[in-house]
Amino acid sequence: MDTALLLEWTIKALLLIVVLLTGFAYLTLMERKVLARIQVRIGPNRAGPYGLLQPVADGIKLLFKESIIPAKADKVIFVLAPLITVIPALIINAVLPWGRTVTIFGREVSLYVADINVGLLYVMAVASIAVYGVTLAGWSSNNKYALLGGLRAAAQMISYELALGLSLLGPVLLAGSLSLVDIVEAQRRMWFIVYQPLAAIVFFITSVAELNRAPFDLPEAEQELTAGYHTEYSGMKFALFYMAEYVKMITVSALFAVLFLGGYLGPFESQYPWLGPIYLFLKILLGLYVLIWLRATLPRFRYDQLMRLGWKVLFPLALFNVVVTAVLVVLLG
């Protein structure tokens, strides 16, 4: 294999991970700031100007915390579970296109790690295994609150994955491809949110549920389950769960942008390919803001409401959308 190509892939993958982890650190700050503003508070403002060094302070604090493993816990799985949660959250980003090709030092470099012809299926595959980390964390802690949180996570993710998968089919039918680059390029004329408003809504709701974020945060409902599946975790292992959650928030926003908001497309992008990542970044920021806004606004669902919404509302809606889209694609060409 071409050594230069291998080097290019390695650099791009490392760069992506650095960007995601920095994004994770500053997303925690953004969340605290936005929540504070919504609740008429100021938020973190002590560490550095405007609290900009707060993520650094948090990181150092977590590093120096004692890492406790409960005596009756299943040690192997207890240590593995945070890793199983973080790794899918990171590798799912490998197929997300940040832009088209740009020229760096006379070399054509494409702004994505991989463009495979089963890109969206890869996303589904990685998303579907993300539930193991949370479920196993709950089981291995040997704590009843943690176990209940893990079980809730498993049931919730299975219930919402079907509607999520079906909502992805709308853009796939319109673009005629499973590759995310093709899906973005198919939106040059018009963003898919215009043709697929229902799929966009279903995708957004189900992905909030897959993220286990408010109003779907039953697996870690503080008032009932202490902290749910990560009750027994401390130190860096606890930080890894948070890392996974926030990296997944970034991923979901990026996927929403790629599937429905035209990804890296925007004015003058065809002349200046460097604008692509900037447009995508702005669209991701919008998605993240809405996610935080939801958390600040909506109370948590009850468990039966969660199941009813998933199976009786979102799943039929997504199915209906697929049938209508398929018929229209065939009729209109």
Partner: protein, 179 residues
């Protein structure tokens, strides 16, 4: 050369995971070994140039079915497997015999195939990509595909009917809304 190394490593992982599944005394570990085995199979599909099947293998088996297995094991608290196999312990010798028969059949066909020196044709362009799989499935194998889907639907309806009957007999007298 590189592909051969990956193949051998993946095969070793698959076999080790299968053995781990058989000998694990804890049902949660057994489930996890099976998940690992399915991942190894997905990698093997990738090596064979069938990315679509590889991804579907992970989505369906590792991502959905095994999560349900894990969910049921955890929900019932059935982690500890009994040394004598419990009420289905009598199946062990039978399983051994059937396993040996299957292995013998496999060995026979492998050796018979290598004796005839059948050349494997190189796979055509675009083999195994979503487009090709879709066309084959909905043109050449449309009837079997539809029959299978009806069979799955029947199984699903059957499961719901069984659950509903059980519920009606054990329903609370208050008649709270059971949807």
């Amino acid at each position: 050369m590189g592909l051969m190394t990956v193949f051998i490593l993946t095969g070793a992982v698959a076999i080790a995971a299968a053995l781990g599944l058989l000998f694990a005394r804890n049902a949660v570990y057994a489930v996890l070994f099976l998940v690992l085995n399915m991942f190894a199979l997905a990698v093997l599909y990738l090596l064979l140039g069938a990315p679509f099947i590889a991804m579907v293998q992970i989505v369906v088996y590792a991502g959905a079915i095994m999560v349900l297995f894990l969910f049921v094991v955890m929900l019932l608290g059935a982690e500890e497997l009994k040394e004598d196999g419990g009420p289905i312990g009598w199946q062990r010798p039978l399983a051994l015999v059937l396993g040996v028969v299957l292995l013998a059949e496999l060995a026979y066909f492998v050796f018979a195939a290598s004796a005839t020196k059948a050349r494997l044709l190189p796979s055509p362009d675009g083999f195994g990509d979503p487009h090709a799989v879709g066309l084959t499935l909905f043109q050449k194998y449309l009837l079997p595909f539809e029959v299978t889907s009806v069979l799955l639907l029947v199984a699903m309806v059957g499961a719901i009917v069984l659950v509903r009957n059980g519920k009606r007999t054990a329903d609370e007298p208050t008649g709270s809304d059971a949807d």
